[in-house]
């Protein structure tokens, strides 16, 4: 508990620093938000008036103080390009991103972990060669290229996949809003048409987003399994006469959870970054595509909010993982 409080306290300076950095970075970005909003033809006086409304005529330190004090009051600012409060936009779009992230991470774990284990237990076999090739390819393919290729093959050429346009097929209504996650909501309401459509809509973006993580998880699982399989206590487990399956999954795998959790934590950060690209390719109405739009028209508030939210999520996930270490490994204890 003491450890938990300390960690939360440590997060405060980190977040202040992050907000300062984001603030500076948005201001360095080329482009004038007021001009973008007013339009190219607008007279200078109008632009000046808008600039005043946006509070951009004040000095940078002044702007930062206003930004921080707004943050403390829970005000994330106003998105000029959508004409909504940023927080409302986020609330509307976050479930889409969450659904995509969960599906990708799930895919990465469900395929990556068993593949890594198989690869380690069948070292230098065909399976192992395939998995190593796969993880090398997965880790080296750029996400934007992979996304476009998948669309080209599965939508354009083969026609198995629906058009890469959002979360649900044309002509279908969104499932009744319960959690905002379409797959879950359509299951809860028994809306099979929506379920089918949202599953086929999410397939390609989820695969695109997960491949890099899957590759890294596979490699990591393989290498830590190989290490553990050579250890004395695995030999002891075999000497007890336990079945090979029990030796591998109970005795060896449970000892690879720590490095695996660590990788999962860092993959989450990567995933957040990649959503920006993937959501843009697949017109996915999540936070990633929202931020892309904001960057293109230099709308400061959403960009700042996205970066801050990412930082908070990252901190929270890593704290949860650190606490989980104590569950998976009795040797880990925090004072």
């Amino acid at each position: 508990m003491k450890y938990f409080i300390r960690r939360v306290l440590y997060a405060i300076p980190v977040l202040i620093l992050v907000s300062l950095l984001i603030f500076i970075m948005t201001r360095i970005m080329p482009g004038d938000p007021a001009r973008m909003y007013a339009g190219e033809q607008a007279p200078e006086s109008t632009v000046e008036q808008i600039r005043e409304e946006m509070g951009l005529n004040k000095s940078l330190p002044e702007q930062f103080v206003i930004y921080m004090s707004d943050l403390l009051r829970g005000d994330f600012g106003y998105a000029w390009h959508t004409e909504h409060e940023v927080i409302d936009d986020f609330a509307a779009r976050f479930p889409a991103t969450l659904e995509l992230a969960i599906c990708s991470l799930l895919l990465a774990v469900v395929i990556g972990v068993p593949l890594g284990i198989l690869s380690a237990t069948h070292k230098n076999s065909i399976v192992d060669h395939f998995s190593r090739l796969f993880s090398l390819a997965g880790a080296s393919m750029p996400v934007f290229w992979l996304g476009l290729m998948l669309v080209l093959v599965f939508y354009v050429k083969l026609g198995i996949s629906p058009a890469p346009m959002g979360r649900i097929g044309n002509g279908l209504n969104d499932p009744t809003h319960i959690t905002g996650l379409f797959i879950l909501d359509s299951m809860l309401t028994g809306d099979t048409a929506a379920l089918k459509s949202s599953l086929s809509q999410i397939a390609l973006p989820a695969v695109t987003l997960s491949l890099a993580s899957m590759a890294i998880i596979t490699r990591m699982t393989r290498s830590s399994m190989l290490e553990v399989l050579g250890l004395d206590y695995v030999r002891t487990a075999r000497a007890k006469g336990l079945k090979e399956r029990v030796v591998i999954y109970r005795h060896a795998f449970s000892n690879t959870l720590i490095p695996l959790l660590t990788v999962l934590g860092s993959q989450f950060g990567l995933l957040l970054g990649y959503t920006v690209v993937v959501e843009t390719i697949f017109a996915w109405p999540g936070i990633g595509s929202y931020v892309t739009d904001s960057i293109l028209i230099t709308d400061y508030a959403p960009i700042q909010a996205f970066a801050l939210l990412s930082a908070v999520l990252y901190l929270v996930i890593n704290l949860v993982l650190d606490l989980l270490y104590t569950v998976v490994d009795p040797r880990v204890k925090y004072e």
Partner: protein
């Protein structure tokens, strides 16, 4: 005649290395009777641990392999037994304890879980029975507060305690054979004595045959009935323990015994055997001990000695004892 439990015939084990195959164990024969303690001694790399791992078939997969020979347990060859049947013997009828107690237990499971796992699997006990039996077992190997220790994790116990746990685990299904691979090497001397004492006591109580792998002749003298001396993958001498210590025949055994300090002697330096164990890639043509042997004869470099029978179960692999040469 005593009942033969385990009989190893012509065991050859090879290891794959980057420079080709290496034969770590070369035609080893021995037997183990019911209730007997057989010691296998030798330097590091002589093949004693590999012999024990070959019996249990725990050689590292894809690297070590038994290429020849038979390992008969209760008349059945373990090497040609289906995996499923082998699993019912391994850990139940033949169990094994290892050199490093600190790394031989799984760090993420409670002691009680690791003990009861064997009981549940081999003795078909339910969770509660197995847990209670684990506490009982810990008590029998001299662990105090066993009902608390079952809830501990390996890192919370000392090396000596862990080796006791390993012994408890090894003996949990009343095995007919216990293979102990250097069970005391990693422990300090006072604990070593306790562990040996414990093993002997358990042997008396359960009539378990023990195969004790060690490089410590003191340990052999204390607990073994018979001894095999191994050198470079071969058995070089086999005898009962008194014969071996009183009348060692092989120059290697004689050398080993000379290396031991004695209480009634005042010597500045201990004797030693000149030279080192030959590299597995460059084994001598004739007798493998010849390059280091103080009694080396010209024919030792060219002729391979057999294991010559000297009577009363005493055997020695040295040309000095070949009939007609003496």
């Amino acid at each position: 005649m005593a009942e033969r439990l385990l009989e190893v015939k012509g065991l050859c084990t090879e290891f794959k290395t980057l420079n080709g195959s290496v034969r770590a164990v070369n035609g080893v024969d021995f037997y183990l009777n019911k209730g007997e303690t057989l010691g296998i001694v030798g330097e590091s790399g002589c093949g004693k641990s590999v012999t024990s791992l070959s019996i249990m078939q725990l050689l590292p997969k894809g690297i070590g392999k038994v290429v020849e020979g038979e390992i008969l347990f209760d008349g059945e060859d373990l090497l040609r037994m289906p995996e499923k049947k082998l699993l019912t013997i391994r850990g139940k009828d033949i169990s094994m304890i290892f050199q490093e107690p600190m790394t031989s237990l799984n760090p993420v499971f409670k002691i009680g879980k690791q003990l009861s796992e064997v009981l549940r699997y081999h003795m078909k006990m339910d969770k509660k029975q197995a847990w209670e039996k684990s506490i009982e077992l810990l008590k029998s190997v001299g662990i105090s507060r066993p009902e608390m220790i079952v809830n501990d994790y390996p890192h919370q116990l000392s090396g000596g305690m862990l080796q006791r746990v390993m012994i408890a685990m090894g003996l949990s299904c009343n095995p007919k054979v216990l293979i102990a691979d250097e069970p005391t090497t990693a422990l300090d001397v006072t604990i070593q004595a306790q562990i040996l004492e414990l093993m002997m006591e358990l042997k008396r109580n359960y009539d378990t045959a023990i195969l004790l792998i060690t490089h410590n002749l003191g340990v052999v003298a204390e607990v073994c009935d018979r001894v095999l001396v191994m050198y470079a993958g071969y058995v070089v001498e086999e005898a009962d323990v008194n014969t071996l210590f009183d009348h060692p025949c092989h120059p290697y055994t004689q050398g080993l015994l000379k290396c031991m300090p004695k209480v009634d002697e005042t010597r500045e330096r201990l004797d030693m055997i000149e030279g080192t164990v030959p590299s597995p890639y460059a084994m001598p043509q004739g007798c493998r001990f010849a390059p280091r042997c103080p009694k080396r004869m010209p024919q030792c470099d060219t002729e391979k000695p057999e294991l010559y029978d000297l009577g009363n179960g005493h055997k020695c692999r040295c040309l000095l004892y070949r009939e007609g040469d003496q």
